[in-house]
């Protein structure tokens, strides 16, 4: 560990904060990020690499950081993989390093690397194939992955906001500010997103002059003007995904959930001005703590007042390194040497501002900075951190040097931030002067500006931004004056010569790290090529180059350049791999939004929902609804309760909440004709005041749903659907109404929520209703025939009474307005009809052979279900034509049958397969429903069985390997109980 470096205090605040890292207490300053605070405390080792467990320190100072990923918080508030550079320090923060066991200093798995390159490219694919992946999986799972996933989540809900604007500008650096300003002045509506807490981008350390002012003054004035122009400026907000014009931005002030916001921004034009990402030059041992990006050192100094080291060696391939060196010197660090990979061809002689550069070099030399041109850092030396840089001349003949230092600052140029394009299909082109890629085409809807467009010097970036803003505003129809472009002067243009990696003997390439997050080396690229993976996307997947949470931010362009070198091709041909959204990691909690915990799905509630919950109803989801399975008071456990409730209905009576039934009113002069088309059988022959059980088909002939259809008037019907199918059936009816019945006098209206439905079933149901509903209802109740209904008033509200049964008992459906449902329910309950749930209903309906979605499962035709009579009576209904297909009439088609245990006692369960005997043969059917019947004292089933096996009296085997049970069962009629339906017709 080096001595704590120099420190001046952070730009963002003052005061001290205490925090812990791996259990040790440290002090930082208000405004620090976790990375700067640890740096200031002399901490260099911040994590271990995911594969080799090599010691890693900071590479960057922003969202490009691949190494310093921490786990923050504990238990249900735990968040892994938080970048130390993005995490604002706060009092009491608890940070843990990752990928190490038992500790960061001593990691047992790092011994794996002693074998040297054990996990090469394709290692998993090649090594763990024999005898099977499964035998290795537990060990590998323990070692693999970044950080540990939390086992529970109690993070706060993020805010969400939908925004609409003409122009979304991403990045509030010099170009983004110029763009936003130009477009806003012209009158366009602007949203400006900046991922850093402060606007200004590189102006933070590249203190240029703009429009005759120093950049700080200019920035302050511009922010005031943007505010005055109504520009929505969102700081600490990163645009993480571009969904073809809908942009998702995530604001996470301080780098942790808590006050975070997810924005959905609809923009006509997006100006990508997110700058450029500095990339490293690759050399051996370049992953040693102490090797950092040059721009990161400038950021730590300018924003946090933190020096990254005491003795620096700079390694770069451009002129800007000299300006940086000057600023680092002023900041109190010793710059031992500038290693410039460019040859003399790039000397400044003849440049317009060559004199300025020469004088800068002169003053650096005076300050003791050695300038080594046409040279490269080849190896970083050191065990735990950098101790020296080994430097070799690039031309033959020179001699190697070794310069002691604690930090090597590297800069291989800047890669325009193309992220949104790299997510999608945007084309990009290689720009040799940048050594990187730029967007190949600009459109009015998607404009790159500034460094993101390859304009690396301040003046060019700002005029480019201004032009982009002007263009976008014009495209949006804004006609105001965008003003004149800002006149800026900053660092000289970099005049870069592409240089991706230092010369290296073959054996050393295992230590030339390209992707630090995934431990991908130059040797891995060679292996991939040797094994035939040469396309950049194949190499990415085979080697894991650029697949980490950083999506190759510091490695993709360098990796492409090195691949080009190894293939002997131009980078223009090799291209660059696509990255995946989100651009910055987003917690799943933020993505979930309000869909979390109990609210993960919306719940629809019947008017009796609260009553059920308050009276021991055990609710289960059915579609979006919650329905009571049983009531706790009915029995000691679910099975006992259901049996008791079913018994009560048969013996006496009960009530059930069927408000979840879909209810569609079909109205208009052609309503009957429409329903004749929608249902099997003829709805047009239902008389007013009566109802009928109807089945609807899909267009391919399979049964879609069933329900009762009530004829309310000549031109009005109420069609009920099963509860789980309600929304689908509404869409289905609306679809055919629109496609075939539009303008033909039939309308479909959803009345599901307008009517509550209470079922009163059992021998006592009629007398109880008679006692409850009052004199006006006595006549109708007595006269109401099976499947008839009548309408009237109860408690001043509409009430419809339908005599129909899904239990086999005398039963009535009471359709009432939601406002009186609870009152009616409680009155029925008080009058002795106790509630029963779905489990009891299931017993009652299986006893009677009535069908639910277990039988109407989308794979059964009406012929399979024994509805031949309906098919014959119908003419040209939806789906009927395709019932004629020969395969639907074969002997192997299923047939609905009833089942009972051959011994009359043994249980069997739904899901069991049916075979012809005990031999393990291909199944000839399966059990769809099974219940224990308290009425008959044995297990009953419904099944779909091949017609050729479905004769009543035949015996088949119910095979249930999951429960280890084989039960011989006997085929019987699906109507197990009361086959003449005498009980419900009393």
């Amino acid at each position: 560990m080096t001595a704590p470096p120099l420190r001046r205090g952070t730009r963002l605040g003052s005061g001290t904060l205490s925090f812990t890292f791996d259990g040790r207490r440290y002090t930082g300053q208000v405004g620090d990020c976790a990375a700067s605070a640890l740096l200031a405390n002399g901490v260099r080792l911040m994590g271990r690499s995911v594969k080799y467990r090599r010691r890693r320190g900071l590479l960057g100072a922003g969202p490009e950081e691949p190494n310093a990923l921490f786990t923050v918080g504990t238990q249900a508030q735990l968040i892994p993989n938080v970048q130390a550079t993005q995490l604002l320090l706060r009092e009491g923060l608890t940070l843990r390093s990752q990928n190490r066991w038992p500790s960061l200093q001593v990691d047992l798995a790092s011994l794996l690397q002693a074998g040297g390159g054990l996990f090469g490219a394709g290692f998993y694919y090649k090594t763990f194939m024999w005898p099977s992946w499964r035998s290795y999986e537990p060990l590998i799972r323990r070692l693999a992955g970044l950080g540990d996933a939390p086992l529970a989540c109690d993070l706060p809900m993020p805010a969400t906001e939908h925004l609409d604007c003409d122009v979304l500008v991403t990045g509030a650096g010099p170009a983004g500010l110029a763009a936003a300003l130009a477009a806003a002045r012209a009158g366009a509506r602007i949203v400006l997103c900046e991922s850093e807490p402060l606007c200004g981008g590189e102006l933070e350390f590249e203190r240029g002059r703009i429009d005759g002012q120093d950049s700080d003054s200019w920035l302050a004035a511009m922010l005031t003007e943007l505010d005055r122009l109504g520009v929505r400026v969102l700081t600490s907000t990163t645009v993480v995904a571009d969904n073809h014009g809908e942009f998702i931005a995530h604001a996470e002030p301080g780098g942790l959930p808590g006050s975070n916001t997810v924005y959905r921004i609809r923009a006509r034009t997006m100006i990508a001005a997110a700058g450029a990402l500095e990339r490293p030059i690759i050399f051996a041992n370049n992953d040693l703590p102490g090797v950092m990006l040059l721009g990161a050192a400038e950021r730590y100094l300018a924003r946090y007042g933190t020096a990254v080291g005491r003795d620096l060696v700079l390694f770069a391939n451009h002129d800007r390194a000299y300006a940086s060196a000057q600023r680092l010197l002023v900041g109190g660090m010793r710059v031992r040497a500038i290693v410039d990979a460019r040859t003399d061809a790039h000397s400044a002689v003849g440049l317009s501002d060559g004199n300025a550069l020469q004088s800068l070099k002169g003053s650096l030399a005076t300050a003791g900075v050695e300038i080594l041109s046409a040279s490269a850092v080849t190896i970083a030396e050191g065990g735990r951190a950098v101790r020296a840089a080994r430097i070799a001349p690039l031309a033959s003949g020179g001699h190697e040097r070794r310069i002691s230092c604690d930090t090597i600052l590297v800069s291989g140029g800047w890669s325009p931030a193309l992220y949104a394009d790299l997510h999608g299909s945007g084309a990009h082109a290689y720009a040799p002067e940048l050594g990187s890629f730029v967007a190949a085409a600009q459109s009015d809807w998607h404009i790159h500006a500034g460094a993101a467009n390859g304009r690396l010097d301040l003046a060019a970036a700002m005029s480019d931004g201004h032009a982009a803003g002007t263009r976008a505003a014009a495209a949006a129809g804004a006609t105001g004056d965008s003003g004149s472009p800002p006149q800026a002067r900053g660092d000289p243009p970099p005049r870069l010569a592409p240089f991706a990696r230092s010369p290296c003997p073959l054996v050393g390439e295992k230590r030339q790290f390209i992707d630090l997050q995934n431990d991908v080396t130059v040797a891995d690229l060679r292996i991939a090529l040797a094994e035939g993976f040469s396309d950049i996307e194949h190499v990415k997947r085979y080697t894991t180059l650029g697949i980490g949470t950083d999506q190759g931010r510091s490695s993709a362009v360098v990796g492409a350049a090195i691949l080009a070198e190894l293939k002997g091709e131009s980078p223009a041909i090799v291209g660059i791999s696509r990255s995946r959204p989100p651009y910055q990691p987003v917690t799943m909690r933020s993505i979930a939004g309000f869909h979390h915990g109990d609210a993960v799905m919306i719940t629809r509630r019947t008017p009796l929902h609260d009553w059920h919950a308050a009276h021991g109803g055990v609710l289960e989801p059915m579609g979006l609804w919650m329905r009571p399975r049983f009531y706790r008071a009915s029995g000691a456990n679910a099975a006992d309760a259901a049996v008791a409730e079913a018994r009560r209905v048969r013996a006496h009576g009960g009530i059930a909440d069927s408000s979840t039934l879909g209810k569609l009113e079909i109205a208009g002069p052609e309503a009957a004709a429409f329903l004749d088309f929608m249902y099997l059988g003829k709805a047009s022959t239902i008389r007013v005041g009566r109802s009928r059980y109807m089945v609807s088909l899909r267009e391919d002939g399979m049964v879609l749903d069933d329900g009762l259809v009530l004829r309310l008037a000549e031109d009005r019907f109420l069609a009920t659907t099963s509860s789980g199918h309600g929304t689908h059936m509404l869409s289905h009816f609306e679809h055919y109404q629109a496609a075939r019945w539009s303008a033909r006098g039939a309308t479909v209206t959803d009345l599901t929520d307008a009517w509550a439905v209470i079922v009163a079933a059992g021998p006592q149901s009629r007398s109880t209703l008679a006692q409850l509903l009052g004199a006006a209802w006595q006549g109708p109740l007595a006269q109401l025939g099976h499947m008839d209904f009548t309408a009237g008033r109860y408690a001043g509200q509409d009430l419809r009474l339908l005599r129909a049964s899904f239990s086999g008992e005398l039963a009535f459906e009471l359709h009432c307005r939601p406002a009186i449902a609870a009152r009616l329910w409680e009155a029925l309950n008080a009058a002795g009809l106790t509630p029963y749930g779905l489990d009891a209903l299931d017993i009652l309906r299986v006893e009677k052979g009535y069908l639910v979605s277990s039988e109407l499962n989308g794979q059964t035709t009406p012929l399979d279900l024994g509805m031949e009579a309906l098919v014959i009576s119908s003419s040209a209904c939806l789906g009927q034509a395709l019932l004629d297909r020969p395969a639907f009439h074969e002997a192997s088609r299923p047939r609905l049958v009833g089942l009972r245990a051959a011994d009359g006692r043994a249980p069997f369960l739904a899901g069991a397969q049916l075979t012809i005997d005990a031999a393990p043969t291909r199944p000839c059917g399966y059990i769809t429903s099974s219940v224990y019947s308290p009425t008959l004292g044995e297990w009953l089933g419904l099944a779909l069985l091949a017609r050729e096996r479905a004769a009543e009296g035949a015996t088949v085997m119910a095979r249930d390997p999951l429960r280890g049970r084989n039960t011989p069962v006997r085929v019987v009629s699906p109507v197990h109980f009361d086959p003449t339906s005498a009980r419900m017709k009393v």
Partner: protein, 81 residues
């Protein structure tokens, strides 16, 4: 394509719409052809959508499958092929 212009509601987010099916091949004779045969034209797909998250209108969407972009959106009103 992330927005669809509902003829009734105006442009709305795609997530409000539900795709149902591609229209049948034009000139299909029997019911089997109508139900099962689909056109696979790379330039034009005629589709049924519903604006379930809005006015619930059924829509006839003409779309270019190559670009993914809608060419025309109208109310489905007996005009399906």
């Amino acid at each position: 394509m992330t927005r669809l212009a509902c003829p009734f509601c105006g442009p709305r987010e795609l997530r409000e719409f539900e795709f149902h099916k591609t229209g049948p091949a034009a000139g299909g004779q029997g019911e089997f052809e109508r139900v099962y045969l689909r056109v696979a034209d790379p330039q034009l797909s005629i589709e049924h959508w519903q604006h379930v998250g809005g006015c619930r209108a059924w829509l006839l969407v003409h779309r270019n499958p190559s670009s993914g972009l809608p060419l025309a959106v109208e109310l489905l009103a007996g005009n399906a092929p």
